[in-house]
């Protein structure tokens, strides 16, 4: 059914379709609408879940951890400070290999306190062992949540999946979303969770035991391997989704007008939409420019990026996060990928934009493309700074 849905509605409706047993959350802007919608669905009997509103994000993540260890499907959502407050638990969920799905309504980190969108929060949990997907628009947010559970629950993966949805830009913005009418079809796509190891009085196991130096590294290695294996599973999940529901937004990456491109803009999240519009305009003026969208930030799609960039001369990385004392985060990973694959001659310019909700307009992007033509291997350059008196 075609509907005009706020991003938060699209997310909550996607979550409704997978029928999680236990949902737990703590409110934080801009995640609030998601958990409000889910609460209402439960209150109206449209979603048969145990919904536990807890006293903190730390407990929200801990509740879904405990529930997930019992072998049931679980979901939580947060943003910003809430995400870094639950980071300790996310490491733990990943380490215990529990398939929790978590939405992050991406938002800046304090100080100064700022409720608006950027991706610094997501970058702060980069190494937790959670799979990190990034949605471009409300339709993808809807579809990606259904795929996320399929990826998380794959027996070869068994890792938490974080679905990043830009705060306000998507969560509070209405777009046309085609929703799935048949919950049976979703059940077919996503069979019931069947965990080999769970908390069960008839078959007791001990979870979260002490890993001494003799075993800790092997445990981390298994997690590392599972993350690598998940690449294949993410691709399959996207392909199968396309076959069943007709929607495809890319697998690990997506590309736009890349066939003859000598310049490529790399980014993730909602800004991709603006970049695509700008690229259309730039192509009219004769520039051979394309877009590479990172859909899976972890696992990092190295092979796919390499294939996509084979014939490119200039790369512009636009990111809404920064590593103070170093520069960009995504840009560094792109450079590393190119270097390892003997493609270090490609010029990579990394720019920081849109922190704390600063708008990124098509004009910003035209200007950036012109600027990048003059620059060589810059990194961590802030774009659009006001001149402060």
């Amino acid at each position: 059914m075609r509907q005009v849905l706020e991003g938060s509605m699209a997310v909550s409706d996607g979550v409704r379709m997978v029928e999680p047993h236990v949902i737990s959350a703590y409110p934080i802007t801009p995640q609030t609408h998601i958990v409000e919608h889910l609460s209402k669905m439960v209150a109206d009997g449209n979603l048969k879940s145990e919904f536990i509103m807890v006293e903190s994000e730390h407990s929200a993540a801990s509740v879904v951890l405990g529930a997930s260890a019992c072998g049931v499907r679980t979901y939580t959502a947060t943003a910003s400070q809430g995400l870094i407050y639950m980071e300790e638990v996310i490491y733990n969920i990943a380490g215990m290999r529990l398939p929790v799905v978590l939405t992050v309504a991406n938002r800046a980190l304090s100080a100064p306190i700022n409720i608006w969108n950027d991706m610094q929060d997501a970058m702060a949990i980069r190494d937790t062992g959670a799979i990190m997907l990034v949605a471009e628009n409300n339709q993808e947010a809807y579809d990606m949540h259904i795929q996320a559970f399929k990826i998380a629950e794959n027996p070869d993966v068994m890792l938490p999946v974080v679905v990043n949805v830009d705060g306000f830009v998507l969560t509070h913005t209405f777009e046309i979303v085609e929703t799935i009418d048949s919950i049976e079809k979703v059940r077919e796509y996503l069979p019931p969770l069947d965990m080999k190891y769970k908390l069960d009085v008839d078959n007791p196991y001990s979870f979260g035991t002490l890993g001494e130096p003799s075993v800790y590294m092997e445990s981390r290695y298994n997690l590392y391997n599972a993350m690598n294996l998940s690449k294949k599973v993410i691709v399959e999940a996207a392909r199968e989704f396309k076959n069943m529901f007709g929607k495809f937004h890319g697998a690990l990456i997506d590309t736009y007008k890349m066939d003859d491109a000598n310049t490529v803009i790399i980014a993730m999240g909602s800004v991709i939409g603006t970049i695509k519009d700008a690229v259309d305009e730039l192509r009219e003026s004769g520039k051979k420019i394309g877009v590479l969208k990172i859909r899976s930030f972890r696992p990092f799609p190295e092979d796919e990026i390499v294939s996509a960039l084979r014939n490119v001369e200039n790369i512009i990385v636009m990111e809404k996060a920064v590593s103070p004392g170093k520069g960009g985060i995504l840009s560094v990973e792109i450079r590393d990928t190119l270097y390892k694959n003997k493609m270090a001659s490609i010029n990579v310019n990394g720019y920081i934009l849109g922190l704390g909700g600063r708008d990124i307009t098509p004009k910003n992007i035209y200007d950036l493309v012109v600027r990048a033509e003059r620059e060589e291997n810059v990194d961590g350059k802030f774009i659009g700074l006001r001149r402060l008196e």
Partner: protein, 298 residues
Amino acid sequence: MLTKEETHNGIFTMGHTACSGCAQSMSVKLIMEVLGKNTIAATSTGCLEVFSTRYPESSWRIPWIHSLFENSAAVASGIEAALKITGKKDGITVLGQGGDGGTADIGIQALSGMFERNQDILYICYDNGAYMNTGYQRSGLTPLNAYTTTSPSGKESFGNSRPKKYMPEIAMAHRIPYTAVASAGYPLDLQKKVKKAKSIKGAKYLQVDVPCVPGWKYEPRYSVKLAKLAVQTGLYPLFEAEYDKIISVKKISRKVPVEEYLKLQGRFKHLFKDEAGKAEIEKIQNIADENIARYALI
């Protein structure tokens, strides 16, 4: 009383690596005899987790999970919710457990949340009065004037400068259906309280006084003796409460001066050096006397 089968149910098995004389491991065994196999336990980081589940070994013959230091009440909440939604809750006890630090300090927020939601969970705090697992640092439940490695005695200090926090009363302030305080020194009383807690639906809080050989610095043979003395001095009142009302107290049969309790423990030995120490012991006696009056222990 328990049957022979219950007493030997082997749910908390031998072979763990607790110190000799550890009152916590003793209490856990007693508690698990009552709770039985239809129990799922969420345990905080601490001695209990370290000495009972060194991978690949485990002393637990029930489903057991350790996540983090401060979240066992929230993990237990998730377990309870999962059992409820899948129709498996009936007949299963969900147990949250932690030490005094994991309960009353870093874990108090998650615990308060669980109480306030009145989830059907028994939470047990094993109170040994400091962070023993990390080497005897003070916690919010460290008693007045106890030496710990972060509240040492010295020229300017008699040890921990504050009396212990009244955690059971904090539990009662949540108006949960059952709060109880027990002691490793009184096993039957402990088991009776666990049995009662098991039979009540909703959130339950049980705090157990568990003397710690290396932390309190005494001979292992004194664990039970010290636990009993803590009760008989009035320093560790044992009681039961329903909602905000105390419904029973364990009466003191023979009131013992606090010195008898303090002098057996290295953590209080600095109080026995001079006149100033004597005055500090007097303060501890006052705490005991206040407890005796407040809880009508005599």
